[in-house]
């Protein structure tokens, strides 16, 4: 895990837990959600048990409408298959479900993100002589342009919230809304970013990431210290609602009792 979830024990929950709870609430009344590796797995499973019981969990491994009985260890866990609405070939999943525009929301993670929500999951350093070779696109570069909304969930740090990406794996906004509108993609790009410190939306006029809420106990200075550019801040900057007792119970007792994601 990159970054440090930090001590927030006096609040009765960790920063990972508020990140998960705040992300799950983004899925309120969402129908078809493309679930990614790692944290999105627990976020979507929490949302299905709270704000969005009709949420259809879609996995790029070829599962539509998963009803996992345990927290999946990966996006290809056998628990996703048993009891699902449909299991498809990967061609079908990517062509008919994603490329044709059926997916309402998709989660993406990132090793690096910039102020317009462009994402790097390919390489740190030069492509031909990388400092760190990352996993690559997987389905991310196509999810980024086809899902109607993109939610980004990731821990915040100087090295991950960067002024300039080392590689653009998946496009976000361009900084020119006229250009973005003319792209003709079925998706509208990233709409929200949730980190362990704060939540962000993207400004309609400029496509720029905009700080909208700070998690309880987090100051603007800490947010600034953990990003590579001076953030745009909403005029009505608010506070992220704390996780409810029920959200915490589900996270701790049902979804992640081994504390793999929430330590």
């Amino acid at each position: 895990m990159s970054g440090d979830a930090g001590p927030a024990a006096d609040l009765g929950y960790s920063r990972s837990e508020i990140m998960i709870a705040a992300s799950a609430r983004q899925l309120d009344r969402v129908r078809n959600c493309f679930v990614g590796v790692g944290l999105p797995n627990i976020v979507c499973n929490l949302a299905q048990r709270t704000v969005s019981p009709d949420l259809q969990l879609v996995y790029e491994s070829g599962v539509f409408g998963a009803r996992p009985e345990r927290l999946p260890l990966s996006i290809g866990d056998p628990t996703l298959v048993t009891g699902a609405t449909a299991v498809t070939s990967m061609f079908e999943l990517f062509a008919y479900y994603l490329q044709a525009g059926l997916i309402d929301v998709a989660f993406l993670g990132a090793a690096q993100i910039d102020r317009y929500g462009n994402i790097n999951t390919t390489v740190i350093g030069d492509y031909d002589h990388p400092k760190v070779r990352l996993p690559g696109s997987g389905g991310a570069c196509e999810i980024a342009i086809h899902a109607k909304r993109i939610l980004v969930i990731m821990r915040q740090a100087q090295r991950s919230f960067v002024e300039t990406l080392d590689f653009r794996t998946s496009p976000g906004h361009s900084g020119d809304p006229a250009h973005d509108a003319a792209r003709g993609w079925s998706g509208s790009g990233p709409t929200d970013v949730v980190t362990d410190l704060a939540t962000y939306t993207f400004d309609d006029a400029t496509g720029e990431m905009t700080l909208v809420t700070l998690h309880p106990g987090v100051g603007l200075d800490e947010v600034r210290a953990n990003m590579g550019w001076e953030p745009r801040v909403a005029e009505d900057l608010g506070e992220t609602p704390a996780p409810t007792a029920e959200e915490l119970r589900l996270i701790r007792e049902v979804l992640d009792p081994g504390r793999i994601y929430t330590k």
Partner: protein, 305 residues
């Protein structure tokens, strides 16, 4: 005609130095036993293709069988990195590894074009991504129809050999798969030679009783290998679960070239075949990985005599 063979004979006959080899499987049905046999027979200069290179490709690349990797996502799923692959890409240690990368859908469509004998496959991916800048095989064209859409295209991928694992197959190679299907069908139809590995060899009548479940027909298959638990530490739906402890352990083993070599000595070179691996892992492990049953409902195909 029976195509049943041992893993040793199938690999010896069908996998050759310099081949492009695809051991497909999207977290599910990844035929580790075939990868181990390729290592054991010391194949060299392979191009390994797969959407999601994971631990078995880390083992194979760490063992020195490959010079090139074609892929869309590499990693130890749910755990982290592939350390042997990274050493070769980042530090050319002990030798460089050529890479050619796509997205998931790009890889699927490459196999699709290969399987369908098409010159390319159009996809609405890669717009404003840097991937085409580092992979000149991803190109774009303008649709010849009225809308004149500009669209990316990917070339066919036709492996010399595809190795596909199935729950069951008959002696002729007709293979049935359930659970996550990945792109095994596309990879097999695209390949020049196909090895089917199965948990259970069954009578042809079992296949014919449920033809919708046949993913690969024997007509494209060259060899059938019955090899229980061949996918460990990956899983076979309905037969055994993923051995997550192994995936976590591999993260430690592969961090260091010497410990990776020691693992290969103990678990691959030091064993004659996968049956010995299964025995050495111990019955307790296999019992622990066995899921409770969840039977499918039956369907009535009807008899039309």
């Amino acid at each position: 005609m029976s195509k049943v063979a041992s893993m040793r004979d199938a690999v010896a006959e069908l996998v050759r130095d310099g081949d492009t080899v695809a051991i497909e499987g999207f977290t599910h049905l990844i035929c580790f036993a075939a990868g181990h046999e390729i290592i054991r027979q010391r194949r060299r200069d392979l191009t390994l293709a797969r959407m999601t290179p994971d631990v078995v490709y880390d083992q194979m690349i760490g063992a020195g069988v490959a010079r090139k990797l074609i892929f869309s996502w590499m990693g130890n799923p749910g755990v982290g990195n592939l350390h042997a692959v990274r050493r070769r890409i980042e530090k050319a240690d002990p030798a460089p590894l050529e890479i050619e990368e796509y997205s998931h859908f790009g890889m699927v469509c490459r196999y699709m074009a290969g399987a369908a004998n098409l010159p390319f496959f159009p996809i609405r991916s890669y717009d404003e991504s840097d991937i085409p800048k580092v992979n000149p095989n991803i190109r774009s064209m303008v649709s010849p129809y009225e809308d004149a859409t500009e669209i990316h295209v990917v070339p066919p991928l036709k492996p010399d050999v595809a190795i596909v694992h199935a729950q069951r197959a008959d002696a002729g190679g007709d293979a049935q798969i359930w659970g996550l299907l990945g792109c095994q069908k596309e990879a097999a139809f695209a390949a020049e030679r196909v090895i089917v590995v199965c948990e259970e060899l069954v009578e042809e009548s079992v296949i014919r009783a449920d033809p919708n479940r046949t993913v690969i027909p024997g007509v494209i298959v060259d060899a059938v290998v019955e090899e229980p638990f061949a996918c460990h530490p990956s899983f076979t739906q309905g037969y055994y679960d993923r051995d997550n402890a192994f995936y976590l352990a591999w993260d430690e083993i592969a961090r260091d070239a010497a410990s990776l070599d020691a693992w290969l000595d103990e678990w691959v070179y030091g064993l004659a075949n996968h049956a010995e691996y299964v025995e050495k892992m111990g019955a307790q492990l296999w019992d622990a990985l066995r899921p409770e049953p969840a039977m499918s409902g039956e369907v009535d195909y009807g008899r039309y005599a």
